[in-house]
């Protein structure tokens, strides 16, 4: 986060030295983009807060801990697709699950679909890329998540 702020500060500084008017225009543009996204964003965050109430961390852990590899991977990919967890929650959670004996196959399905598939961010993505492209892109991403999970399973020799 600090890097991001540093980068943006350097950006603004360099930009203002080069051209003040352009900088003002860029900042106005940034503000405009933010305002345009705000209602959608608040809806998304509200949805996440509701979903997370019904599927808290420990429930997710219970579902992923199943002995059936295929079922576990499917569960994991679906939970990953519908949730929107920040990295600082996801990876410690995965580390914990790993210690509890959850397979790499299942963790691969979970992390990949979590990162690539965004059902709750659908309304925002649709705004920029249209419904058709958003749906196709997410379906493709989901397929990729399953493939990544399968290959991780093969390499770690969890899949027989």
């Amino acid at each position: 986060m600090t890097y991001l702020y540093a980068l943006a500060s350097i950006g603004i500084l360099t930009s203002s030295v080069a051209n003040k008017q352009k900088t003002v225009k860029a900042l106005k543009m940034a503000w405009g983009l933010f305002i345009k996204m705000l209602p959608m964003l608040l809806i998304t965050l509200s949805m996440v807060s509701i979903i997370l109430y019904f599927f808290p961390d420990d429930v997710i852990a219970k579902y992923l801990g199943t002995n059936d590899l295929l079922l576990g991977a499917l569960f994991a990919s679906l939970i990953g697709a519908i949730s929107l967890l920040p990295g600082f929650i996801t990876f410690p959670l995965c580390g914990l699950l790993r210690e509890q004996g959850v397979s790499y196959t299942v963790l691969g399905a979970f992390t990949t679909s979590l990162m690539m598939v965004g059902i709750v961010t659908y309304p925002i993505e649709k705004k920029y890329f249209g419904a058709k492209l958003t749906i196709i892109r997410n379906l493709a991403a989901y397929t990729i998540a399953l493939m990544v999970s399968a290959i991780i399973g093969i390499i770690y020799m969890e899949v027989q």
Partner: protein, 186 residues
């Protein structure tokens, strides 16, 4: 003419969202007052996630804004356009690896690339790659699940992302963004 129409539909679509949000906000406030457990928990999650996301927003949007004003069409076309060939995908992945901001800010950035003449399949590669190969995130991931895990994930998903991007471009058509009026960002 088209622009006017768009503004009209935007205003129409924003209203139900505001109503919905007001309802949810009302529910959260009432839950707090009545000590209604589920409502309080949802409220806590909402505040937690909102803070986590919003603190990244000022610099992230500023960077997108600077990009849109300073980087000209020719540069984007050169690196990410039709003529960039395979290097366009490499450039998109390189850009994705250095991404520091959340996915919701990656979206307008992708749209900005499109607007400046990047090829659709390359924009799609950028979107997909930001999800899986951010360097800061990967370091974090590797520390919990091992470097081998992250490396397999990269090696398997990156080629698949490029492949799927090319296929998706074929399905929706090269001019999808323009024909669906998705390039008007202001």
């Amino acid at each position: 003419m088209i622009k006017g129409n768009e503004h009209h539909t935007k205003k129409q679509s924003a209203k139900p969202m505001v109503v919905l949000l007001s309802f949810y906000a009302g529910y959260l406030v009432i839950s707090k007052i009545m000590a209604f457990e589920p409502g309080i928990k949802m409220g806590d999650h909402l505040i937690f996630f909102a803070i986590d996301m919003f603190k990244l927003f000022p610099p992230a949007f500023v960077l997108v804004g600077l990009f849109m004003i300073w980087v000209n069409k020719e540069t984007v076309e050169k690196f990410f356009g039709e003529a960039s060939g395979i290097m366009g995908y490499v450039a998109a992945i390189a850009l994705a690896c250095t991404t520091l901001y959340p996915f919701v800010v990656v979206l307008p950035m992708g749209a900005a690339l499109s607007k400046k003449g990047a090829r659709l399949s390359i924009v799609l590669t950028y979107l997909g790659a930001t999800a899986i190969c951010r360097i800061p995130m990967t370091i974090f991931e590797a520390s919990y699940l091992g470097i081998k895990f992250s490396m397999i994930r990269y090696a398997v998903s990156l080629p698949l992302i490029i492949l799927s991007s090319v296929i998706i471009e074929k399905i929706v058509g090269k001019d999808y963004m323009a024909t669906n009026h998705l390039l008007d960002l202001e």
